[in-house]
Subunit: 351 residues, 2 copies
C-alpha cells in the first residue's frame, strides 16, 4: 500500500512487548523487505541490541542504535511510567518530538504509550482527544474503528474529532478516496441514543463531512461493513472490538470441533483446508495488528504486546503508510475546513 | 427446564410481530406440547383469532380470546404507543397488572412494550430501572447479559440492580444454583473504567453478592463464558449484543464461501453437515429468542419481531420458566438482603 517517497526515519521501541527485542528485530527485518528506503532509530539496551543485530542484516544496514537504560513493564501504571526518565519508549517519543523521526512503533504498555505520546509528541492543534484507531474485518472489507479505548468518556466534540481522524485514517491506510462514516448507536433512527450522540450527528450533518456521514450504525453494521469508518467513545469501542474478536474466536473454536468429530469429518477438513486458511487469515486479529494513536504531532503506532514478527511487521507497515500517505495533513486540512483549529481544547470528561 | 406446578395463565399479544397472528398462534401451539397445563389469554382481533384458531387444536383448548380493537405498529414511537388505548399489547399488560395473568409475551414493538410495562405492570419495589435481559451463546454454555438496551445511561445503583436481576434470571432460566457475575469493562484491573463502574464493583464486593461477583470482565470474556452473568449499561449491552451476533454472522458467511468453492469443497460440506448444523444451532440467535424485561411486577417477555414459530415458542418457554422458577421472588429476596427494598427509586439519568 505504501508509495515510493523520500526516505524517512521511524523510531522503534525495541524493548516493548512480551518477546522484545527478538520479535521487534525480526519484525523490522521483515518490514524492510518492502520498505528498503526506511531508516530505523532503534532504541533500547545498546549491548543486547548490538549483539542481536548480527542476525538481521537488512535491519543492521538500515538502523541506528540509541541506548536507553530502562524499559517500561507491560503492567506498569501510566502515571508511574511517566516517571521512568530513561525508558526506551520515552526516548522514541522524544525522537519524534525532536523531528528526528516521523513516527514511533512500540509493542509496549498501551496506557504508558498514550500518556507519553500526549505529553511528549503532543496533540495536533484543534484535537482535544487523541484516539486509538485500528482496522477491523467485515464482510465488505476492512473497516476503521475508533476510539478503541483511549478515552473512556467522550462528548459530542470528541466524537466529531474521531470522525475527522477516522476519515483521514481510512484514506491513508485503506487508500479510500471518500470513506463513509457511521456513528455507533443502539439504533439507526435519528432519535436513538443519548444527547451527546445526537449532537455529534447534527454537527457532522451540518459540516463538510455531510456527504461522507452515513448517520447512526448498530453493532452488527460493523462486521457487515455498512460504513468504512465506525466512530464511538473509547469504552464502547473497546468492548465492541473485544466482543467481535471473541465471537469470531468462538465460531472458529466450534468449527474445530466439527472437523475433529471422526475420520469422515477429518477428510472433509482436508478438502476445504485452503479455503479455511483464507477464512482464518481474513478474520485473524494479527493481520490487523497496528493500532494508531491518531491526533498527535507524529505517527504513533501500537503493536499488540503478544504479536509475532509478522504482526510487528504489519504494525510497521501501518506506520509507514500513515507517514507516506500524510495522515496528519489530511486531519489538519479537515480541522481547518471545520474551523476547529482555533477552538479551545476541552480537557474535562463530561457526558 | 420447566417444573411441574399449578396451572397459571400467560397473556399473549397475538397482534405483535412481523407475521402476527400466524406465527404467534403456531408458536403457542408448539409451546403447549411441553406445557399442557398452561392457560393462554390470547389478545387481539377477535374475529381474526377465532377464525385462525381452528388450525390450532391444543391452543384452542388452552386459550381464552380477548378482543382488542387496535395493535401497535412496529415503528411507532413509545410515547405514541402509550396513547393507543385499545391496543392488544396494553390489554396484555393490564391482564398482568390485574392478576389475571402471571406474565405476558409479545413479539411487538420493544420500545412500546417497555414503556407500557413500566406504566401498567410497574417496577418491583426497590428496582429503579427495569432492564432487558437475554441469554447469549458462549464456549462454556449459555450466558445471561443485561441491560440490552432498556437504559441508555446508567449509574452505579442501576448496575447493582442489574447484577441482582441477572443472578436471579440465570437461576430461574439456566437453573444455575450459584451463577457468577461479571461487570463489563475495558479491562479486568480494579482501576479500569469510569467512577460509576468502580462504585458498582465496590458495592457488589461489600454485599451478599460478594461470593458470586467475579469482578470486571472484558468483551471477549462474554463469548468465552468467563462468568454466567454479564452486567452492563443498556447502551454498551445493546452494542455488544449486536456486535457479537454480527461477528458470528460474518464467520458463517465466510464459511459458506469456503464450502461453495468447488465440487471437492462441496463434498467436504456433505461430510461435516451434521456437525455444522449443531454449530449453527449453538450460535443461532433464534435459539436464544425471548428477552425478559426484568424488575417488573410480573414476567414480561419480548420475542424478536421476525421470529418464526419455533422462536416464539422458545420465548413462551422463557416466560414459563421465569414464572415457575419464581424469578421475581428471587429478585425480591436479594433486594431484601441488600436492604434496597426501602431505598428511594432514582429516576434521573446521571453519569
Amino acid at each position: 500500500m505504501a508509495q515510493a517517497s523520500v526516505p524517512f526515519t521511524l523510531a522503534v521501541d525495541a524493548m516493548g512487548g512480551d518477546n522484545a527485542p527478538k520479535i521487534v528485530l525480526a519484525g523490522l527485518e521483515t518490514a524492510l523487505i518492502h520498505h528498503p528506503k526506511i531508516r530505523i532509530l532503534l532504541i533500547g539496551d545498546e549491548e543486547i541490541l548490538n549483539q542481536s543485530l548480527k542476525n538481521y542484516p537488512r535491519l543492521s544496514a538500515a538502523c541506528t542504535v540509541r541506548h536507553a537504560p530502562e524499559s517500561i513493564p507491560m503492567d506498569m501504571k501510566p502515571t508511574a511510567a511517566l516517571r521512568v526518565r530513561g525508558s526506551s519508549m520515552r526516548a522514541a517519543m522524544e525522537a519524534v518530538a525532536a523531528g528526528e523521526a516521523r513516527g514511533v512503533v512500540s509493542a509496549g504498555n498501551s496506557g504508558a504509550m498514550l500518556a507519553l505520546a500526549k505529553i511528549i509528541v503532543k496533540a495536533l492543534p484543534g484535537i482535544s482527544r487523541p484516539a486509538m484507531a485500528a482496522v477491523q474485518p467485515s464482510a465488505r472489507g476492512d473497516v476503521v474503528m475508533l476510539d478503541l479505548g483511549a478515552n473512556i468518556v467522550c462528548d459530542a466534540r470528541n466524537l466529531v474529532e474521531f470522525a475527522i481522524m477516522g476519515e483521514a485514517f481510512a484514506q491513508a491506510t485503506l487508500s479510500l478516496k471518500a470513506p463513509t462514516i457511521g456513528l455507533l448507536n443502539v439504533g439507526s433512527e435519528d432519535l436513538k441514543g443519548d444527547e451527546r450522540l445526537r449532537q455529534a450527528a447534527e454537527r457532522l450533518r451540518d459540516s463538510v463531512l455531510a456527504d461522507s456521514f452515513h448517520g447512526f450504525v448498530e453493532g452488527h453494521d460493523i462486521t457487515a461493513g455498512v460504513t468504512d469508518v465506525v466512530v464511538t467513545d473509547g469504552f464502547t469501542g473497546n468492548v465492541a472490538l473485544k466482543t467481535g474478536e471473541g465471537a469470531l474466536k468462538l465460531a472458529l473454536g466450534l468449527l474445530r470441533h466439527v472437523f475433529q468429530t471422526n475420520w469422515l469429518t477429518k477428510l472433509g477438513y482436508m478438502l476445504v483446508r485452503p479455503g479455511l486458511r483464507r477464512m482464518r487469515e481474513w478474520i485473524d486479529p494479527s493481520r490487523y495488528n497496528g493500532a494508531v494513536f491518531v491526533g498527535l504531532n507524529g505517527i504513533v503506532v501500537k503493536s499488540h504486546g503478544g504479536a509475532d514478527a509478522e504482526g510487528f511487521a504489519s504494525a510497521v507497515d501501518v506506520a509507514i503508510d500513515a507517514v507516506e500517505n500524510t495522515l496528519n495533513d489530511k486531519i489538519r486540512h479537515r480541522l481547518e475546513q471545520l474551523g476547529m483549529l482555533g477552538q479551545p481544547v476541552e480537557a474535562k470528561e463530561q457526558e
